[in-house]
């Protein structure tokens, strides 16, 4: 028994969850930075 599918699923899920959260937050940070900069420039 190698258990490779379970191993791949476990590590894959962790990558998707941690990586997905990182990407979501990084993109949100970028969007908010642009929004604030635009507002400050207009103001």
């Amino acid at each position: 028994m190698t258990g490779a599918p379970f191993l791949v699923f476990g590590y894959g899920l962790a990558t998707v969850l941690y990586g997905g959260y990182f990407l979501r937050m990084a993109l949100l940070r970028r969007t908010l930075q642009h929004q604030l900069r635009a507002k400050l420039e207009v103001g």
């Binding site: 258990g3 490779a4 191993l7 969850l17 937050m25 940070r29 900069r37 400050l40």
Partner: protein
């Protein structure tokens, strides 16, 4: 540009509002986390030998245990921050509690699923109502409730106060999870601590690299979440 705008941009480090201050404190954190992740993959898949009995399935251990450790650390941060909020009414403490709970829940989810994968491969079942598994599921539900509570209370002060109380109560489950393998008969492997089985040196090294790496990942994600929180406040402040 007026002085208020200048102040916001100062917080922004000239370009990136608010979060830049946090980033400036630990400029090496991002690269260090990335390098550590690469080293972790090498240790988990190449350096650590294949287990004679469990085969490749045993390598789930290197992500399961460090994630469990971080879930405890995350909820300890929620606990400490909640006490700080209730005693000092510190907004920073409330934000830290929220960030730690969200990311802690992420790690807890990975622990539950990787545990189920290991259980299916070794025990032949995804789930059994074992004391360790059950108490950990309760922990996951408690922090899910914490996040839900924060989402459904509109008033910021009430949200912070009620979630702080729940954050303190929920943490009581952490020592129960940790000690469950000593208090009750359990199927869950007991590797570390009193009466633990221990493990060979190379596997232990991979596990410690995992602990170090996931601690960095946790700190990095919390920092990112705090930056987003500070930016959201700055944008909303600017709108009002």
């Amino acid at each position: 540009m007026n002085s208020q705008s200048t102040s916001q941009l100062d917080r922004a480090g000239g370009q990136a509002p608010a979060g830049k201050n946090i980033r400036r404190k630990w400029p090496i954190l991002g690269p260090l986390t990335l390098v550590s992740l690469i080293v972790f993959v090498y240790f988990a898949f190449f350096f650590a030998p294949e287990d004679a009995e469990q085969g490749q399935t045993q390598r789930i251990f290197y992500i399961h245990v460090p994630s469990a450790w971080i879930s405890f650390v995350g909820f300890a941060v929620v606990f400490a921050s909640s006490i700080t909020y209730l005693t000092k009414r510190s907004q920073k403490a409330d934000r830290l509690a929220e960030a730690s709970a969200t990311i802690g829940l992420l790690f807890t989810t990975v622990v539950l699923v990787t545990g189920m994968m290991w259980g299916r491969a070794i025990w032949g079942v995804y789930w059994t109502w074992d004391p360790r598994l059950t108490s950990y599921l309760v922990l996951w539900l408690l922090y899910l409730a914490y996040i839900a509570l924060r989402a459904y209370i509109p008033d910021p002060a009430r949200k912070a106060r009620f979630s702080a109380i729940l954050g303190i109560i929920a943490f009581l489950d952490v020592p129960i999870v940790y000690l469950s393998v000593l208090w009750w008969r359990t199927l869950h492997p007991h590797v570390f601590g009193p009466g633990g089985g221990g493990m060979p040196g190379q596997m232990l090294a991979a596990m410690f690299v995992g602990l170090f790496t996931f601690t960095l990942v946790f700190i990095y994600l919390v920092r990112l979440r705090l930056q987003v929180g500070a930016l959201t406040d700055a944008v909303e402040e600017d709108q009002s």
